[in-house]
Symmetry: C2
Subunit: 142 residues, 2 copies
DNA sequence: GAATATAACTCTAATAAGTAAAGCGAAAAA
DNA sequence: TTTTTCGCTTTACTTATTAGAGTTATATTC
């Protein structure tokens, strides 16, 4: 049984975000789809953190329902299903990147310093581009 | 009973982040401390989402233990305890901002468009500053 | 100074979430 | 034809989270 806007705890955007993916698994699935080019149920099941079939199944349903991933049949193997991030899902990348950078700054992880530097640089560049875009379209146009 | 690095599911930074604050409440507490200048247990208890005393108490313990918030006695009222974000906690701001912007883009919330524009602008400016900093200190210095 | 209120909790019982293991139907490989 | 793979679902169980009542200490009001 899933939540919709009507039984959310509040309409605060932070709360809304947490109701979408504020659990221990959803963003790991997004991570695998986004950074590790994982595409199938079976591959997701093999993630290091050890997700169970039941949990994976329910998280996939939720992510589908929320439009964060898509589900497609494979042409070459009719058993196989391919999962992909939607545009909406792919746009979670900045969220993941900020989380990763925060952890890299404050805790021990297995992420090499080089990778941290690359993420930082990518972030800076994308924001620099955003500054340019904002200059064209004034920020308070809505 | 709390987790430490030794019984984490993996050392992946994304997973590490989720073990730190991948639940439905921790970042709401950070939100209140960061954006709404909330300082006490009682005020936190009044958040719109309706956190219970037990949950709030356990989340505060965890955030303290992780060094995300600090706990201080008040001089004027000896019952009162003041909670504040540490530097480490304050540095979660970009994470929250990206989450809020994602939601503002993709879902209905109560956030006024003006506020979204302000957040975007603040993000762009801070990143522009980061670009300048990176130019001084090469990104792969570690 | 007695009663009431407030702050910051702790405890407990109930509910929700997550898990491992087995099983299933369809498709592919041996 | 038998076995394996794929993407699940189901079940029985364990663990985590939660709401709400209760507690202690301090402060305020009458």
């Amino acid at each position: 049984m899933e939540k919709d806007a009507s039984n959310m705890r509040s309409q605060c955007p932070m709360n809304c975000a947490l109701e979408f993916f504020g659990d221990k698994w959803s963003l790991l699935i997004v991570r695998d789809l986004l950074f590790f080019h994982v595409r199938s149920f079976g591959q997701l099941l093999k993630m290091d953190e050890g997700i169970s079939t039941g949990t994976l199944s329910s998280r996939i349903s939720m992510l589908l329902q929320r439009g964060i991933i898509s589900r497609n049949d494979c042409l070459d193997d009719k058993r196989a299903i391919e999962y992909r991030l939607s545009d909406k899902g792919r746009e979670l990348e900045p969220v993941l990147v900020e989380m990763i950078l925060w952890v890299a700054e404050h805790e021990m992880t297995d992420l090499p310093p080089k990778a941290v530097a690359n993420l930082k640089q990518a972030r800076s560049l994308s924001r620099a581009a955003a500054v340019a875009t904002d200059a064209q379209q004034p920020a308070d146009r809505n």
